[in-house]
């Protein structure tokens, strides 16, 4: 089907150029999703690295038949994995407001009230919000489609908003 010229009086969607301040726009849904996927891939790679080290330690422990080395290595390895799993997102949100995935897509999470940087508590609360979203059937993530400022529940809980980093 041939596509004619664009209608002259086309109304753009109301939210197209919305932003919290002049020259700053709320982050697009697509880049946010992609950034999250990149972060999960990064996290997965880190976990795989941890498990590889764990496996190596286990093999070494089996060779020298040291139960202490095996148990110690396993405890340390799982502690490492736990710290990464808990700390990855909040650390980057707190330090500069960008996870590696968000950096790739030019996104930043900032304080909703004035656009300032997040406190450590806010960053931790935001991860807690991720879990709330997941428990309640992921509705909290879909909330970005409804909210005027494109906030998910994790944003509402931590009082944050995600913006595009102007270039």
């Amino acid at each position: 089907m041939a596509q004619g010229p664009a209608p002259s009086a086309w109304q753009p969607p109301a939210e197209e150029f919305v932003g919290p301040a002049p020259g700053i726009r709320f982050a697009g849904h697509g880049p946010r999703l992609l950034a999250y996927i990149v972060d999960t891939i990064v996290l997965f790679a880190i976990f795989m690295g941890c498990f590889a080290i764990l496996g190596g330690v286990a093999l070494g422990a089996a060779r020298v038949e040291s139960f202490g080395l095996a148990a110690g290595g396993a405890a340390l390895g799982f502690l490492l994995i736990f710290i990464v799993a808990i700390g990855y997102f909040p650390f980057f949100w707190w330090r500069g407001g960008q996870t590696p995935g968000m950096r790739l897509f030019g996104l930043r999470v900032v304080r909703d009230r004035d656009g300032g940087p997040l406190s450590g508590g806010q960053a931790a609360l935001r991860l807690l919000g991720f879990w709330v979203n997941s428990v309640a059937f992921y509705i909290g993530f879909a909330w970005v489609l409804i909210d005027q400022r494109r906030r998910g529940w994790h944003d509402l809980i931590a009082q944050t908003v995600v913006i595009e980093v102007p270039r």
């Binding site: 301040a21 020259g23 304080r111 909703d112 980093v165 102007p166």
Partner: protein
Amino acid sequence: VTESAGPPAVPTGAAAPPIGWEPPPEAIEGPAPGIKYAPHGVRLLAYLIDTVVLIAMIVAWVFLTAAAGALTSDAVGVGIGLVSILGLLLAMHAYFAYSWSHGGQTLGMKPFRLYVVRDRDGGPVGRGKAWLRAFGLFFIDGAVLYIGFIWVFIDARRRAWHDIMAETVVIQK
């Protein structure tokens, strides 16, 4: 580190907030000057603290019930168990209801200066309404896919279903 290309209004991590930032519409909202509707985050944290209190209560209750059951015959033990379950349910309601009708705060709400007050005029919550609110919290909010809790994100006064049932609102002073 190579992020100095933007205009001065750009937030770069720990830098100053941008000029002309419009706060979210709800940031300044509250039922009265100097009183905010409780933020979602601290409400969640308060609830988590109260959950720890409830778990402690349940563990102690189960331990006492098991001890009482072990000291008596089987038939009496079953009876004690059934009464105990009912008692636990009442005690869990009582913990919340008493806290709300006497000072408006549970243990979890105290560190965050949260209060449950009457929605109509900000006054104290009565005993009956407090019990109704506890019942709503335990049995109504979660009954339909937790929508009752989710309601705090929708409602302009941040009320969950148990707030609407008991005609209350949660504030932060």
